[in-house]
C-alpha cells in the first residue's frame, strides 16, 4: 500500500521536516486520499507512542560496579575477573588460524597431487592394456595399418602393380593420421619393395613408420611390435632372395631355419662375439641384403646412401657418426645388435660396442661388489639398455694386478704405498687376509694351476732372497717378499697414479706393472715389442737394480758409468733390466684392465741388496755417490 506514495515525502511529513509548501501540497493530497490519510495517522500515533515510552531508570550502582570491575581487573590482571566476555567461544589467535588454514591447504594440495598421480598412472596402465587388447583384436580380425604417410611414388607403384590407374579412383592425399592402407595394399607395397622393385619407397615407408612410432610413443611402438611378425610373414619370396631352406646351413641340434633372419637369430646366441662382429663388418661391406632381417636391410640401404654421400664428400661429418631416429627405433625393436650395427659405419659401431662392453663390465663389477649371486644377472640390464641382444657379457671379477717395486728399504716403500693409499682414499686390504683371497682368486682364474702359480711365485721370491744373501756374503736375510706386499683396492685410473707415485724420485722405474696374468716366468719375459738385451741373458751375468741413495742428484751418463752387478736375479729384476733405462717405458695396461672399474693391486715389494746398511753396501760406494745405479756384480 505504502509503495504507491513517495516515501521521502511521507517520512518528512511524519517527522515534521517538510517545508511549508511541501507540507501544504502533501496535506492536499491527504485530503483527496483517505487511505493515505489513515496510514499517516496510524504511523503518527505509533511514532508518538514510541516517543512516549518512558525512560527506564538503570539499576542502581551500575556505574560503580563497572568501575569496580575495571579496578579489580587492573589490580589483579586476572583475565578470569573480566566482567563478561563478549564472545564466550574460545578462538585461537589469528596467526594460529592462518597457520592452520595454510597447513590444511597444503595437506589438501598434497593429497590432490598424489591422487592425481595415482589416477594418471592407473589411467596410463589401463590405456596401455587397452591398447594391447585392441592391438590383439585388430590383429586377429583385420591387420589394420596405422595411418602412415608415404610418398606418392609408393601409391603410384601400387597402382601400377595392380594395373589400376583409373581417374575415377581418388588419389589419396597422404598425411599423418590420414588414409590408412589396407592389408592387401600394404602387402603389395612390402613385397614389391623387398623384391627390389621399389626399395626406396618401402624403406622410406618403414622409416616413416618408425618415426611415427617414435612420435607416438609407447603405444605406437607396441602397435609396431605387434605388426612386425605379420610383415615378416608377408615375405614369401625367399627364393627370390636366394634362400633355400633345404640347402640352408644346418643348425646345432638338427634344426633348420625357414628364413635368413631366423637363421641369424638362432645362430647369433651360439656364435662367438668376434664372429658376430666380423659378420657385421662383412655385411656392411656387402651393402646388406638377405643376411639381415628385413627391417635392418631396408634401413641399411639408407645407411649405404649416406655412406656413398660421405665418400662423395657430402655431409660426411654430420651423418657418419650419428644414428637418426628411424634407424635407432628399428634397431631397438629389431632382432639384435648385429642388425643395429649394420646401420652404422665401422667407427661408430666399434665405439658403441666398446661402450657396451665397458658398461657390461661395470655392471658386473658393481654386482660383484654388491654381493650379488650372479654377476651375469647384473649384466642383463646394461645389455638391454645398450640395445644388445647378445648373450650377457661374461662375468668380470675384480682385477688383480701386481705392481713390482724394487726397493732397498722395503718397509719405507710399504709405508709409502700405505700413505699414498690413505691420501688417495684407497682401501688397504688386510695383509693377513689377502693372500688367501688371492689364492682363491687364482683358483677361480687358473683352476688347478693356482697352487703351482703360488708355489712358483714363492720360489722366485726365495730365489731372489737367496741370491741377495749370496751376494752379500754373511748378511742376514731380508724379510720375505710376500710379507712386505701391500694389497690395495683402487679404481682403474688410480693405478697409473700409484706407479707414478712410486717412481717419482727415481729416474728409472723401480715400480712397474706386471702383466695381467700376474705371473712372471722364471726364464724372464718381455713383451714382444720390447728390445731385449741379449748380453744380460748370458750365463753368469745378472744385473740388479739398486735404488739410488740420493734420488735428487743428477745422474751420470748411464750408458757408460752405470755398472752392472752380477749375481742371481729374479725374473722381475730381469724384466726391470730389459726395459730401456734412460727413457721411462710407457706403462701398458692390459686389455682386461680397461674393462674393470675396480681392481685389487698387489704391490709386490722386491727387496734390493744394495740398500743403505743392507747387503752389498760396501761394494756400492760409487752407487751411493751417484744418483742412480745399475751395478754389475760378479757372480
Amino acid at each position: 500500500m505504502a509503495d504507491r506514495y513517495n516515501h521521502e515525502l511521507l517520512l518528512g511529513y511524519l517527522e515534521d521536516e517538510l517545508s511549508p509548501e511541501k507540507r501544504a501540497r502533501f496535506e492536499a493530497q491527504l485530503g483527496s486520499d483517505p487511505e493515505l490519510r489513515r496510514l499517516v495517522e496510524q504511523l503518527a500515533v505509533d511514532r508518538a507512542g514510541l516517543r512516549a515510552l518512558p525512560h527506564e531508570p538503570p539499576p542502581p550502582a551500575l556505574v560503580e560496579e563497572a568501575i569496580q570491575q575495571i579496578e579489580r581487573q587492573m589490580l589483579l590482571g586476572d583475565p578470569a575477573d573480566e566482567p563478561i566476555p563478549i564472545d564466550t567461544t574460545p578462538r585461537p589467535p589469528r596467526r594460529h588460524r592462518v597457520l592452520k588454514a595454510m597447513a590444511y591447504t597444503g595437506l589438501a594440495a598434497s593429497l590432490m597431487l598424489s591422487g592425481g598421480l595415482i589416477l594418471v598412472s592407473l589411467t596410463d596402465i589401463s590405456a596401455l592394456e587397452t591398447a594391447r587388447q585392441l592391438a590383439g583384436i585388430g590383429q586377429e580380425a583385420e591387420p589394420e595399418r596405422p595411418p602412415v604417410a608415404f610418398d606418392d611414388s609408393v601409391e603410384r607403384g601400387r597402382r601400377e602393380t595392380d594395373g589400376v590407374d583409373s581417374p575415377e579412383s581418388p588419389r589419396s592425399t597422404p598425411t599423418l593420421g590420414d588414409a590408412p592402407l589396407d592389408a592387401a595394399a600394404e602387402r603389395d607395397v612390402t613385397d614389391e619393395a623387398l623384391r627390389g622393385g621399389d626399395d626406396d619407397e618401402a624403406g622410406d615407408r618403414l622409416a616413416l613408420d618408425a618415426a611415427d612410432d617414435a612420435v607416438g610413443g609407447r603405444r605406437g611402438r607396441e602397435r609396431a611390435d605387434n605388426e612386425m611378425p605379420s610383415i615378416e610373414s608377408q615375405l614369401p619370396a625367399l627364393a627370390d632372395l636366394g634362400w633355400d631352406e633345404a640347402t640352408s646351413p644346418a643348425l646345432p641340434g638338427g634344426r633348420s631355419a625357414s628364413s635368413p633372419w631366423e637363421m641369424r637369430r638362432l645362430t647369433r646366441a651360439e656364435r662367438p662375439e668376434t664372429e658376430l662382429e666380423e659378420e657385421a663388418e662383412a655385411d656392411m661391406g656387402a651393402g646388406g641384403g638377405g643376411a639381415f632381417g628385413h627391417e635392418s636391410a631396408l634401413v641399411l640401404r639408407e645407411a649405404d646412401d649416406r655412406r656413398a654421400n660421405a665418400e662423395a664428400g657430402k655431409d660426411a661429418d654430420t651423418d657418419a657418426a650419428r644414428l637418426d631416429m628411424p634407424e635407432l627405433t628399428l634397431s631397438q625393436r629389431g632382432s639384435g645388435f648385429g642388425d643395429h650395427a649394420a646401420d652404422m659405419d665401422a667407427a661408430t659401431r666399434r665405439e658403441v660396442a666398446s661402450a657396451m662392453e665397458v658398461a657390461s663390465a661395470m655392471a658386473a663389477e658393481a654386482a660383484a661388489h654388491e654381493g650379488l649371486a650372479e654377476a651375469g644377472a647384473a649384466n642383463e640390464p646394461a645389455a638391454s639398455v645398450a640395445g644388445d641382444a647378445r648373450p650377457a657379457a661374461r662375468s668380470v671379477a675384480p682385477q688383480r694386478v701386481q705392481v713390482q717395486v724394487v726397493s732397498t728399504d722395503a718397509e719405507r716403500t710399504r709405508a709409502e704405498v700405505v700413505n699414498w693409499a690413505v691420501s688417495n682414499r684407497v682401501a688397504v686390504l688386510p695383509a693377513e687376509a689377502t693372500p688367501a683371497s688371492l689364492r682363491e682368486m687364482e683358483g677361480v682364474k687358473g683352476g688347478a694351476a693356482a697352487g703351482e702359480l703360488m708355489a712358483r711365485r714363492q720360489a722366485d721370491a726365495e730365489a731372489e732372497q737367496s741370491g741377495a744373501q749370496q751376494a752379500a756374503g754373511e748378511r742376514q736375510a731380508e724379510p720375505a717378499a710376500m710379507g712386505q706386499n701391500v694389497y690395495v683396492r683402487l679404481e682403474q685410473q688410480q693405478l697409473p697414479e700409484l706407479v707414478a707415485y712410486l717412481n717419482r724420485d727415481v729416474r728409472q722405474q723401480r715400480a712397474k706393472l706386471l702383466p695381467a696374468d700376474g705371473y712372471v716366468p722364471a726364464d724372464g719375459y718381455g713383451e714382444a715389442d720390447e728390445p731385449v738385451d741379449q748380453r744380460l741373458r748370458q750365463q753368469g751375468q745378472v744385473a740388479r737394480l739398486v735404488e739410488p741413495a740420493e734420488p735428487e742428484a743428477e745422474p751420470a751418463e748411464r750408458s757408460e758409468s752405470t755398472p752392472l752387478q752380477s749375481g742371481p736375479l729374479s725374473p722381475m729384476a730381469w724384466e726391470q733390466l730389459l726395459r730401456p733405462q734412460l727413457t721411462p717405458a710407457p706403462m701398458r695396461v692390459p686389455m682386461r684392465l680397461a674393462e674393470a672399474a675396480l681392481m685389487e693391486v698387489e704391490v709386490w715389494i722386491v727387496p734390493s741388496a744394495g740398500g743403505p746398511g743392507g747387503p752389498g753396501a760396501a761394494e756400492e760406494g760409487a752407487a751411493e755417490e751417484g744418483a742412480e745405479a745399475l751395478e754389475t756384480v760378479e757372480p
Binding site: 505504502a2 516515501h7 521521502e8 511521507l10 517520512l11 511524519l14 496510514l39 496510524q42 504511523l43 505509533d46 511514532r47 507512542g49 514510541l50 516517543r51 512516549a52 515510552l53 518512558p54 525512560h55 527506564e56 531508570p57 538503570p58 539499576p59 551500575l62 556505574v63 560503580e64 560496579e65 563497572a66 568501575i67 570491575q69 575495571i70 566482567p83 563478561i84 563478549i86 564472545d87
Partner: protein
C-alpha cells in the same frame, strides 16, 4: 534539567588524570545507555549486563576516542554494539519463559515475538498504576508497542530506538549505525511500516490470547 558538560570537558578531565571524571561521565550517560539496551533487548537484566559491558569498553577505550563524532554518539554506538551482540547470542541460545507463555527465541522470535519483552511488560505493568480509562488504554498501547518493537528485525529495531526513544537525528543515527543518511531514512520509513503492520496484526488478534503473535513480513 541541568546543562550537561561538553564532550571536550569530559575528555580533558579524563586525560588530565581526574579519577572521578570517568565515574561522572558514565553516571551522566548511564540512563541513555541503559534505555537503548533495554529497548533493543526488551529485558532489564540483559540490558543491565549489556550496559555494564559497554561501560567497561568505554573506560578501556576512552583514550582511543579521536573526536570524529560526538562523545555521546560514540558511547551509544558502543552500547548498541553490545546490545546487538547480546541479542545475537540470545537468538542462538533459545530460552523459554518459566511462566509458560514464552516462546523459543531465535528465528521463531521473529514470528512469535521476543518473549524477553514479557519482563518489560511485567515491569511496566507493575511499576505504574494504571489510570482509569485513558490510563489503561495508554498502558496497553505501551505494551503493544514494546511487543511489536521486539518482533522487528534488528536493523529496524535499532533505527527506531535511536530515532524515537533516544531522539537522535539522522546524522547521529548514521554515525552510530555507520550507514549513510539516506539509508537511515529509508530504513526508518520501512521500520515504521513494519511496526504498523505488527501493531495492526496484534489488534486483529483476539485479546484473550496476548501471547500469540502474528507473523511479520519484512519490507
Amino acid at each position: 534539567m541541568p546543562q550537561q558538560p561538553s564532550d571536550q570537558h569530559w575528555l580533558d578531565r579524563i586525560r588530565d588524570g581526574d579519577t572521578s571524571a570517568m565515574g561522572e561521565l558514565l553516571s551522566a550517560y548511564q540512563g541513555r545507555l541503559f534505555n537503548v539496551c533495554l529497548r533493543m533487548l526488551s529485558n532489564r537484566d540483559d540490558a543491565a549486563e549489556a550496559t555494564q559491558e559497554a561501560m567497561l569498553k568505554i573506560i578501556q577505550h576512552i583514550d582511543s576516542f579521536r573526536g570524529r563524532s560526538q562523545l555521546s554518539t560514540w558511547m551509544i554506538r558502543i552500547a548498541m554494539n553490545q546490545a546487538t551482540t547480546r541479542l545475537r547470542q540470545r537468538q542462538r541460545r533459545p530460552t523459554f519463559s518459566l511462566d509458560g507463555r514464552g516462546h523459543a527465541n531465535g528465528r521463531a522470535h521473529r514470528v512469535g515475538g521476543d518473549d524477553q519483552a514479557s519482563g518489560l511488560r511485567e515491569v511496566l505493568s507493575d511499576s505504574r498504576e494504571p489510570e482509569p480509562g485513558a490510563g489503561v488504554e495508554k498502558e496497553e498501547l505501551r505494551r503493544q508497542l514494546q511487543t511489536a518493537l521486539g518482533t522487528l528485525e534488528e536493523e529496524f529495531r535499532a533505527v527506531l530506538v535511536l530515532r524515537d526513544i533516544d531522539g537522535m537525528d539522522y546524522q547521529q543515527i548514521a554515525d552510530v549505525l555507520e550507514t549513510p543518511v539516506g539509508t537511515v531514512k529509508s530504513r526508518l520509513f520501512r521500520a515504521r511500516l513494519a511496526m504498523r503492520q505488527q501493531l495492526q496484526a496484534m489488534e486483529d488478534r483476539p485479546r484473550s490470547n496476548p501471547a500469540s503473535r502474528p507473523e511479520v513480513h519484512d519490507g
